[in-house]
Symmetry: C2
Subunit: 191 residues, 2 copies
Amino acid sequence: MPRAGLSVERLTRAGAELADEVGFDQVTVSALARRFDVKVASLYSHLKSSQDLKTRIALLALEELADRAADALAGRAGKDALAAFADVYRDYAREHPGRYAAARFRLDPETAAASAGVRQALMIRAILRGYDLAEPDQTHAVRLLGSVFHGYVSLELAGGFSHSAPDPGTSWVRIVDALDALLRDWPAPAP
Amino acid sequence: MPRAGLSVERLTRAGAELADEVGFDQVTVSALARRFDVKVASLYSHLKSSQDLKTRIALLALEELADRAADALAGRAGKDALAAFADVYRDYAREHPGRYAAARFRLDPETAAASAGVRQALMIRAILRGYDLAEPDQTHAVRLLGSVFHGYVSLELAGGFSHSAPDPGTSWVRIVDALDALLRDWPAPAP
DNA sequence: GTGGATGCCTAAACCCCTTAGGCAAATGCC
DNA sequence: GGCATTTGCCTAAGGGGTTTAGGCATCCAC
């Protein structure tokens, strides 16, 4: 019987595809084994556990997202950069819902610290350098942007905006406009 | 052998408590049966399925959230109302992380349409009547607020802001300030 | 070619979900 | 209070998913 040629990388990529097809929480070691026409136990020479598999898929998704964002940001600044980043985020989630869900998978702190998630945070901070925000307002703004991007995309994916006008793409554009305006004129603390 | 006195309501409440203790995705029919010291199969005279249980917990959480929000909104308008609603959301998620996660559980469209989720959407629209927004801007704003509230709370719960200054409560206040300012001066579409 | 490392296998234990069918406790009717 | 019926909880059993232990065949290096 010839060997299947498994490897952590192939398994991770296949897991990511599986996630996009059936949803991240349906990604299972068993399903992956079926996909490679191999017995379940065989995967355990490559993966430590189901958790390990999910973590790897999450890291892959975070990488891909950060790569796309870096591409999109090249040569842009200000609102251009903000809109580009925002679109990367939303588009990625729509193209790869399973991977996007994976990117939200809870990692333990040290794994998270070593992930491409920090690159994303740095890029948001870079975008904010196009606006005039001193600390701690910059951090508040980072958190706001992270919340809006994640929140919107996750509500849209969950079907929260479906079948209702105006279409989600339009709201997205207007929300990015609004965020740009807000960042240009960030209010002082309320009295 | 005396009966345990199970009922759909008791099971749902216990499920919600369990969710807060161990996380919503650790809520399982088996765990619930253990909690009542009863055999697993016994729960199936009360619950159709594991999915059914989760749906019921989700509906409970949506009700509780809507009730709290309605209380908080009574007699308030404008920024007061906005801040009160925002705090209800964040506080509920911090007090009841499992229930909050349950409230994000994906319901099928008709169940969602009959849930307290629509009450929440109506309350956000009511808050926005304190600002001067015509359609379709009001809808854009509803979506923005929903995204920020959900996004922020979910990032905070996921530990995204932990161990980093400024503390998440401060950012929350400033973000609500910023949203208020933005709604008072909602920008026209970009050229 | 042969030795060793590696890859995939069988086997088995454990946990969760779900259905079918049975006995006993609660409920209601007289 | 006695009896029938309903209802609730049980045992039994099948189907997945996860994970570990141990075996044999394949692949690679020499």
